[in-house]
Point group: D2
Chain length 223, copies 4
């Protein structure tokens, strides 16, 4: 399912990718994914998961889950509930939604039980190593200062990407590495892959583009 | 819309009220609401809001929202997004999901802009007063030690209920008072209303009942 | 003890007011307090409380306490412990250390039992009203966007100050109002008092001044 | 400094180890340490650090630090400040004060710069591995369900201890492993060391003992 280069599109809470626009954005992702053969994952806001997942066949991931399970946990986002609404995976510990170390572990375990793939976001090589030790499916290293910039991490700080790839290999080679922050072009994706990652995590580079569909096509052109 | 006695049913993250079962539970609420003329609000898990709200005409509330708006707030639950998925209101600051004072204020403001009604949960008379000063639509006082028990707050601690009603009247008489914790029968509802509240907030008393539909009918029998 | 105009000096975690420098800064406060008759309260970092409180006779307040009491609460700051190290009061809910609504209430209660005065910080009139409903000794309204600026709240936004004074009067006239953010001169203090407050909360205006002792003398010159 | 078996005594917020009693408790630790040659570290409440560290020559550790440095961080506990008050190290991420993954990393880095040793607490083998990847001086594995019990982790769950020792060896053999939870006797310490740890972390077993000094002597008798 996730063999080819992977593009993870984080819809954040942008108005351009909420509600019915979330469905449209996911359909663009699906169109580009089918035409290019590149895996594209959509991460809509939590309340949008059901209608997005009902409208497309490409995988939909949550942006966050809590570690709570069934029970007295009002307001918590459970792995089981996002799964039953069609999500196939989830981001965990995004820089805009950091999580306690012990809760990252619990959330990964809850995801595994529920059949959700996990992408744990990290901010440097040491934290990437720590996250990899918890055995998620993916880690996504994103230097926070570059998020939302147009300066791609793969150019601004290639060492953090290649260093993360190496560090994860030592901890557990089954964990795959993504990188993010400042990604907006096909060149950025290509250099991310050259640095040893399996793909990228991005948001504004597509969502805030004048033509998101065209931006998606540009992303996959070199793969 | 909320003139008659009000019953707010919190689905928590119970497996008995998740996914398709959340839809079913909300349909029971609708049936009982129509037959009895009592307002019943369903509060499903966040990812379930869309399908529940699409399936029933009675109001659906979120269990929690964050104060974040549109933008770079990955994993946050925005008022706009739950609204666009069909929610008509939200719980805020439930005892299982406590919130910073300043964020309660921001969440109430965001809800008002988005057209969501707000129910701020509190744990004692002083905190009820504080919450009322932020001008939500409702406050719901729930002594945490009674939540999930079968000992109704209206019997175990009627002073906290009547005291909250009085305190809120002084702060702002437009804010309506609910009470919760240990509520499971029509008697509990009746005594809550005698104490000056406009209704109750409950969860396990219905959701964990052998026959939730019957439990709902029992709740409204004395109103 | 707190009859005259009150100046609360927050040492934050500035290096200029840490360790032995915290003791020196508190001694400046004491000197100016004695000469001017104005109450000045020092708020050093938590680990510095003991040596600052041992070195001066003017009141020393903590910058934050948790709501936990004696027991299994590793790493929490208890009212009893800061009291037994010489603190006479504490800030609660500073904009750099926001607290859950229910924990503000518990922290005020714990402070009262331990004999600590409480100053609850707030960010707007509604939140000031809410804080006042919890019956602390003081509320200190500080618009976050002006904190650390040299634009005094009393000039940039006098309505938030006078509005807070009025709102608190309605909730409970025993609660006294301070204001903060951008305060650095005697004029700022004078206009804060004209707007109905009993004094000010400030930090960088004194701590980061070339001559903090002179800055303190300037603050009290118009009172 | 930390060559011999190590006993880390967490004073928590117990009344039996606060204020002047914290000083007394640390003096017992010192007496037993000198007589036995076993390293004993005292972890008093943050406001007590200065007077405890001024009264004894054995190392004093903080129970928690935040990742913030010098600046506008009201109410945060900085590495520099606890260091300047005499602490030689700190616990991080105790089960009663869990921390965000990225903040554990920042706190370790801040500690290293300030010259503080670090003990990161963990709850299972995976989290221990993750913590070790951040290169603290020590990790201390403590199954939360056994904390405060009289059932020693070394008997109830020896696999979590030996598994942690093995896992850390693979990640980075320089990181030393402690274990905790339910430890109260010399036998417990001996079996912890047999399982490959360098020592133990404990609290109530000594602090709540009728005779803490005797309890400390009992702890070291088999080493």
């Amino acid at each position: 399912m996730y063999k080819k280069p992977l593009i993870v599109l984080n819809f954040k809470t942008y108005s351009e990718s909420m509600g019915e626009k979330a469905v449209l954005m996911a359909k663009y992702c699906q169109e580009v994914s089918i035409e290019s053969g590149v895996n594209i994952i959509s991460c809509p806001q939590t309340p949008d998961i059901f209608r997005v997942a009902s409208a497309v066949k490409i995988p939909v991931f949550a942006q966050h889950i809590d570690s709570a399970g069934a029970g007295s946990f009002t307001g918590h986002i459970t792995a089981d509930c996002v799964r039953s609404n069609g999500a196939k995976g989830t981001l965990i510990n995004h820089s805009e939604r950091r999580v306690l170390l012990s809760e990252i572990d619990s959330a990964i375990q809850a995801s595994r039980k529920a059949g959700l793939k996990t992408i744990v976001c990290t901010n440097n090589i040491a934290v990437t190593s720590a996250a990899a030790a918890l055995l998620p499916d993916f880690v996504a290293v994103e230097p926070p200062e570059l998020i939302g910039s147009r300066i791609p991490v793969s150019k601004a700080n290639p060492e953090i990407v290649s260093g993360s790839v190496e560090a994860v290999k030592k901890i557990n080679p089954k964990v795959k590495v993504l990188c993010g922050a400042g990604i907006s072009t096909g060149d950025d994706v290509a250099s991310a892959i050259e640095l040893g990652t399996v793909g990228v995590l991005l948001a504004s580079g597509v969502i805030k583009a004048k033509d998101p569909r065209a931006a998606l096509f540009d992303l996959v052109k070199k793969i």
